[in-house]
Symmetry: C2
Subunit: 212 residues, 2 copies
């Protein structure tokens, strides 16, 4: 594998894989970069360029084989196996995350949950016993957790991220509304609906000059 | 305002505004692009370039005035006013969104909620009475909704987005796991934790060659 693939390219691959899975489920066997691009609001040239990092897919003028490309993308991304997940912070959001079945369906299995509140630690949600935060390092020393989901309040998020990283977690999905830091070699993604809304109001403001 | 500012630049501005607000709350009055960049994992050159789209901020070698820059960014993004929000799809996720107080704190006021299930429509959550989906167009004809949050299942999401757009909604935050389409002039952002996880497993796979 070429080592210098831009992260934005990697981040688009799951969208390609998902669109291909939908096409395959609908019985389509061949798709052009044009059609795939229209479904994803990406230009055909972008799709071809993104895929070119990983080898040659499809034949000139014949499009891509839907099932093959889906399988190859899934293998490239490591989606052909399961990954273990822990959730840290079991407030309202953390509970909703534990109850969400979309992760398991896609091979992300939540195996542990942590919360510092004594009234939460010890409870069982979706079959997962919530552990005390004080047990985090001990647990991670004995179990491999591939991805940690952080759903603690903003003030605690960086400290929690630091503890996870120190315990060897290499991928973090952060729901706390801060720009959390990780050392090189650790992946982090931020989910921040407020920031996303704030990126749209700029356009609303321009579109609606009477909205003052 | 220059009309050709890349969307990626606009999307970074809320992060700058938030970091500046945190600095201001801590009593800082001046910040360099270096320090701001370190907090956000953005290069100082990127910050200076992003801000240059909107005029001149800060003085050579003296850094930015924290409060001034925060206020100017908030004005640019339209964060110095409130925006009205409706939530469509009041399942577990939609309920969690209605119960989340982070939107209101940032000026995003949820004024309406919709669900097609008869047992949900009619209930009241956080003071908001959930309306039937059949009332969506009628409601939007009489009330201005700036941003719609879509939290319906994947199969229904595009149809819901279409109805919202047809009723004049110009910004959509989509939690459904599909790449939904909107016409030009309408903003959409996708929140998809599974896709974010899938963009990280690529790196996990490379980092852990024994994880097959």
């Amino acid at each position: 594998m070429t080592p210098v693939i831009p992260e934005v390219v990697i981040n688009r691959l799951p969208l390609y894989a998902r669109a291909l899975a939908t096409l395959a489920a609908a019985g389509d066997t061949v798709v052009s970069s044009q059609t795939l691009g229209e479904q994803l609001d990406v230009t055909p040239a972008q799709i071809r360029k993104d895929l070119s990092y990983f080898g040659r897919f499809g034949k000139q003028g014949r499009g891509y084989n839907v099932g093959d490309l889906r399988d190859q993308l899934r293998a490239i991304l490591g989606l052909d196996r399961t990954w273990s997940v822990c959730v840290v912070g079991i407030g309202r959001l953390g509970q909703a995350i534990l109850e969400y079945d979309g992760f398991t369906q896609q091979g992300f299995n939540t195996i542990a949950a942590f919360d510092e509140a004594p009234e939460v630690a010890g409870s069982t949600i979706q079959g997962i016993k919530v552990q005390s935060m004080s047990n985090l390092e001990n647990y991670l020393a004995g179990e491999t957790v591939d991805i940690a989901v952080v759903a603690v309040p903003a003030e605690q998020a960086q400290a929690v991220v630091d503890r996870l990283v120190k315990s060897g977690v290499q991928a973090i999905l952060n729901y706390a509304p801060i720009s959390a830091h990780v050392p090189e070699g650790v992946s982090i993604r931020q989910i921040d609906p407020v920031v996303m809304m704030q990126g749209m109001t700029y356009y609303l403001k321009d579109l609606n000059p009477d909205n003052k």
